[in-house]
Structure formats: C-alpha cells, structure tokens
Amino acid sequence: MRKRKIILSLILLFTPVILDAQSISIRVMTMNIKEGGIIADFNTDAFCECIRIYNPDFVVFQEMDNFTTRNGNIDMLSEMAVKLGMFPYFGRAITFASGDFGNAILSKYPFHKARTITSRPSDATESRACSWIDLTLPGNRQVRIAVTHLDVTSDQNRISNLATFNNGLLEDTSIPMLLMGDFNATPGSETMAYAFLKWQDIGSGTAFTIPVTDPTRRIDYVLGYPKNWSKTSYQVVSYPGLSDHCFIVADVQYP
C-alpha cells in the first residue's frame, strides 16, 4: 500500500513536467540557391516543386535576390511563400543590382520577431548577414530559426562574422535555436572549430554538400543551440538544375 502511494506521489509530482515537456520536432531545409536562383533561371515553380517534395516546416535560403535587375525585378521569396502557403522573411546582406541580396526564411508558422544583423570585417570585400525569426510552435514551445552565409575569403573573416552573429543570436539564450546555411568552411577548419565552441553540429559525419554533382566538401550545416538537439533524419539532396550546392533536409528534435 505504502509502495503504491509512493509511486502515485511520484507520478503526480512529475505529471506537470511530463505534460509541459512536449519536445520540439521540426523539419528544416537549407538551400544555397546560387546567385539568386540563376541556374534555375529564377523560376520559383522549380524551387517550390523541390520544397514540396520534403514539406519542411522551415526553409532557409542563402543568396536570395530581392527585386534585382538580375532576377527580373521580382520578389522570389514572397512568390514562393504564396505558392507554398508559408510566411516569408528576407534579410538583406547588401544592396545589389538595384535591389537586395541576402538570406531568407520561409516558415510554415507565423513568427513574432525577426531580425537581421550584418558583419563586415575590415578586410572583407562585402557584408555578410545573419537573419532569424522567433516563433511559437503548436504545442507552445518557442524556437529561433536562423540563417547565415559566411565570408568566402578567409577563416579570420568568417570567425569575425560568427563572433558578431553569436553576440546577436545568443543575447537571449532562453529559447533553443538552429543556425543553418553556407559557412564556406569544412568541419576541420578554424571557422568550424570556432563555431562548434557554442554550436552543436547536428549533421556531424554526414555527406559532402558541394559541388552539387559528386560533392567533395561539407560546407553547409545545421547547427543547434544548446547542444542537446538530435536528428531522426538528415538528408543531403542534389538538384543540379537548381543550385551548385546540395540542399540539406533534416528532421531535428529538441527535448
């Protein structure tokens, strides 16, 4: 009888924790679309068709154009948002070709905060950006989804980019977050050694991501903070008609 009471008490004690602790379980996709989608001739249908196959909760883009002369003065992101039934956020890294160039996010769920910060180390040729959204998922867990594309020239510049972005992203560490994109650095690089000080390489040991055909290097990542994310699936998928990078589709969970 006493034993039963103890078990009952323990169940009651932990019930609120169990009820509250609905884990985060989301599907994310990261796509470097190469110069605003130039390989696909800026055709949003081609990208949407690819995205629909995987039905992600979030898609993060690098090298997105916004109303540039290069892409025919269109808002590709909003067009894809309309076609996919998602919510868009564009973060400018630089002004370019009479428009903007940078990162972007499509979210299946509305977000309540979005921000873009830029970093331009003194010897870098251009600004790099990190954009993120904060949102409340069904089940009432909050999550931050971030995207970046780091400098292409040197580890020093990339680390400088990351230091700036860490300051912004980790200012509020109360919610779990994912930082995804093209880091222009392989896992053994100084850049990634610096990144892994704070961030978890959720796709550690997974396939190369560039070039899109017969890839030889892994430079696109899905990173997590804090470091207790897990993956149930992590695919590196190749669409040579869309980009020079492979895309990543990952099912990730946070307890």
């Binding site: 509305p110 873009t116 904060d134 909050q142």
Partner: protein, 259 residues
C-alpha cells in the same frame, strides 16, 4: 529561534505588503497636453482594415480591390488587416496581397494553433531591419515593424499591433512595454469595446509616459473599437472610416512630435 523570527518576520511582512495591490494615491498618470496645432509635415498615416467584430476579414480570395487600393495609395506607412486569419499550409491573403503589391508582409498572431491561427496581417513598403515582438503564449502577442517614417526629418517608428479581448492582457501589455512605451512605439489594434474604460484605468495607474486613444466604429452594434497606444511623442489626430468594396477600413493620422 529569535534570530529566525527577527529575520523572517519583517521579510514576511514586506512580502505581504509587496503583494498587496497598489492603491492609487492620486488620479494616476496624465499625458501632457497635445499641441493645439497639427504639424502636417509630421503626420504619418496607417490604414487599419477591420470588421470591428470577431468575423474573418477575408472570407474569399476576392481581395483585388485591396491590391488596387494599396497600389494607388502611396501615403500610408503601414497597412494592417485585423482577423486576416491564417490556415497553416494555405496561402495567407496578406502574403498574397503584399506580393501582388510588391510590398513586404508580416503576420501578428493572436493565438497559437495547429491549423487555424487568428491574427493581424501587416504590410509595409520596404524591407525592415527589425520585426519586433513579444509572445506571452495564450495571453498576448504584440509585434510590429521598425521602420523609417518620411516625416519632416526621417524618424524611426515601430508600428505594432495586438488584439485585446480580456482584461488579463493589460498587465502583460504593460510588462512587455517595460512600464512605459519607448519613444518610437505606436501600437494600433482592436479592443473589445466593453474593456475600454478598464484599459484606460489600468494604464493610468500602471504605466507612464503614454497616450491612449480610442476610435469607435460608426456602427454602434459592433463589438470592438480601435485603440492607439503610443509614447507621448505620438499623438493620434484623426481617422476616417471608409469601405472599399466589402472591406471596412480606418485611415488614421498620427502626428509624431520631434521636439
């Protein structure tokens, strides 16, 4: 034992005293007088679409008139769409209107949900550096865009919105604003008409450095009113209630006081 009583007793008394509802010692906060003359160069315009009740704004996809109206009206700094509810996985009317108008859209939810999410869409003219927000799940979602208003001198303002349907949201709103709205903040949203007096009273005793105005719809049968809550830097001046096809809207003029 005596030592414990010496330490604990005053602590308990302080705790109880701290928990007691503060009684107003005066008439509460009163905003400074509004400048009598309107500075036309410092007026910013916001269009707020709302049926002023709890029905959905876009019952069908027939919102071409809104697209045309936005294209023809370059004055408003922001367009807000109360109850432009979203269905997860379906095209949001506000995202579509923004895309067709070549503008940028945001969505401020009123609640969380698996499939249907009530909320207010927001369309702005340019890329915004920040979409600021607070989410106190199941109580209050307050969010909006930080943008530069082309006034007599370019002025950064944060146009935010939220929906007030219960009095328990007032303390949360005050907490989100840190007890006083920042200079740049202008919040425009709907409030259940029966809560207006309570909101005025609550804010008067729990917030400082703010201005609060209400706009009632011409149809007295409607359940909601519009509220404009801002820092003392912004003054609500006037609004016009219009209907564009089947979409009712309020054109609100707000003056920003630079000095």
């Amino acid at each position: 034992m005596n030592l414990k009583i010496t330490i604990l007793l005053p602590a308990i008394i302080l705790l109880i005293a701290g928990c007691e509802k503060q009684q107003p010692s005066d008439d509460g906060y009163v905003a400074p007088d509004v400048p009598s003359e309107v500075n036309e160069n410092n007026l910013l315009s916001i269009e707020f679409y709302s049926r002023m009740d709890e029905t959905t704004l876009f019952e069908t996809n027939d919102y071409q008139s809104v697209v045309s109206h936005i294209a023809a009206n370059k004055t408003p700094l922001a367009f807000l769409f109360d109850r432009s509810d979203a269905t997860i996985g379906n095209t949001s009317p506000v995202v579509d209107i923004a895309w067709q108008s070549r503008l940028k859209s945001f969505f401020i939810q009123n609640q969380t949900g698996d499939t249907q999410i009530k909320g207010t869409g927001m369309i702005v003219r340019s890329l915004v550096p920040g979409f600021e927000g607070f989410a106190v799940t199941d109580t209050l979602f307050l969010a909006g865009c930080r943008l530069t208003a082309p006034l007599s001198q370019p002025t950064v303002v944060t146009i935010m919105t939220c929906k007030l349907t219960e009095s328990c949201q007032f303390p949360v709103l005050v907490r989100c604003l840190g007890g006083k709205p920042d200079d740049e903040i202008i919040i425009i949203g709907t409030i259940k008409a029966s809560l207006k007096e309570e909101m005025s009273s609550y804010l008067r005793y729990n917030m400082t450095d703010f201005r609060l105005s209400f706009v009632d719809p011409e149809d007295t049968g409607k359940s909601n009113s519009l509220f404009i809550l801002s820092s003392i830097k912004a003054v609500y001046r006037e609004s016009k209630e219009l209907t564009m096809n089947s979409f009712p809207l309020f054109q609100c003029n707000i003056e920003y006081i630079n000095q």
